[in-house]
Subunit: 215 residues, 2 copies
DNA sequence: CGCACAATACGCAGTTCTGCGTATTTATTG
DNA sequence: CAATAAATACGCAGAACTGCGTATTGTGCG
């Protein structure tokens, strides 16, 4: 039995989707939510499920944000975006957020079932049109973000320096030693770096810095 | 009747492919060539066909070059790459050359038939694994040719899995949650990973794993 | 069967990191 | 001159990580 959650703010569409999925006895719907905040709250209580079908446009917290959070916090959960928006910007954002697949709203039950299986097997289920746009994205370069460099988080020179040392796996003590400042100062720099990068630990900071071309 | 050409230098594979395609009465094979030069010469005499199934690795002129030329000279012909190479570099090159789809060699006749129809309808047929790599291409941005040779540290499957979660910045608690094991077990796995990689903290482990091509 | 090894699990102790508050000095800028 | 930002520094508390020892279960191999 494959456990599926549906996140969709429009009741009618959510219901249709649910009916389509339940046409196969292999699936059960274990969660229904109407926005990103809601599903995350539900997952925090119980994340025993395999797949989430996620709308993009929703109030409170949209599907992109929710996907970013969920793929980070529960990497084993597969997320398939399901939306009426077929533009490259939305597709690109969804992919960057970590979505595993991308379907348009009018798919057949068969295609939806197959897509869920594909996602679980590590594939990338896509609607026809989406697949074409994906290739187009690669071919034309992506909207505004093909340059992995020069992202500005407003880090000062000293902070960048500390970040470089952080990325080498040195302890605060060792960094202090290297930069001829105190342990406490290193800590404060790190705090400021984390705040500016909006992360909460060393690993995420390094990851973000690398992706932003800071290292 | 849909007219198809096969370009493939290994006779046995070409024959298998031909048999698979001819399992459906909707298709006929109008050309067989063993390299890029050959198919282009044939097309110059007569290009009355809809689809070309193209290998990548061939003598004289490879599938990428041929695709570049053909999509330029006869834009209405759809080209589906069919190869054993599933690396991002080849995929990227094929897309840039203008290929409409990308299949791996071991596809079923049904999948091949469906792919031809998809290509004709303006879609982008892809094998499972290729679709995933396409998204990965978009996500990571272009294939960096930094060939990280794979180093074997003797990590077990489970340890590799833990390492992947570690690299995402998850806490032991969160990793335990995701893998459905206890906090203590995660700790033990991490210990073993560190010992095998001969490092003493998370950052060094990730660094070494990335350089060794484990992530 | 005995052995090695992977995967599971927990306790203890010590170290390191993270978040928050507070504070001083120096340089820059409106 | 006043405001602001950067760099320096420390205390406290709690969270997370690391190293070491120990142990059980299952699996594969000679």
């Amino acid at each position: 039995m494959i456990r599926v959650a549906i996140v969709e703010d429009i009741g009618r569409i959510a219901e249709t989707l649910k009916q389509k999925i339940l046409l196969s006895p292999d699936f059960e719907i274990v969660n229904m939510a109407t926005n990103g905040k809601e599903i995350i709250q539900q997952l925090q209580k119980d994340h025993a499920l395999e797949v989430i079908i996620m709308d993009i446009n929703m109030p409170e917290m949209d599907g992109i944000e929710a996907t970013t959070f969920i793929t980070q916090r529960w990497p084993n959960i597969k997320i398939i975006m399901s939306t009426v928006f077929d533009d490259e910007q939305n597709l690109f954002n969804a992919i960057m957020a970590g979505a595993n697949g991308y379907l348009l709203k009018d798919e057949t039950p068969q295609k939806i079932h197959r897509s869920i299986y594909e996602a679980l097997e590590g594939g990338a289920p896509m609607s026809q049109m989406i697949a074409r746009k994906a290739l187009s994205l690669i071919k034309t370069g992506k909207p505004e973000s093909s340059k992995t460099e020069n992202v500005d988080y407003g880090l000062s020179e000293r902070e960048t320096e500390v970040l470089e040392h952080l990325s080498k796996g040195l302890s605060y003590e060792q960094i202090a030693d290297n930069l001829f400042i105190s342990y406490g100062t290193v800590r404060k720099h790190v705090e400021n770096i984390y705040r500016k990068l909006r992360v909460n630990n060393r690993t995420e900071a390094i990851d973000k810095a690398q992706k932003g071309g800071l290292l």
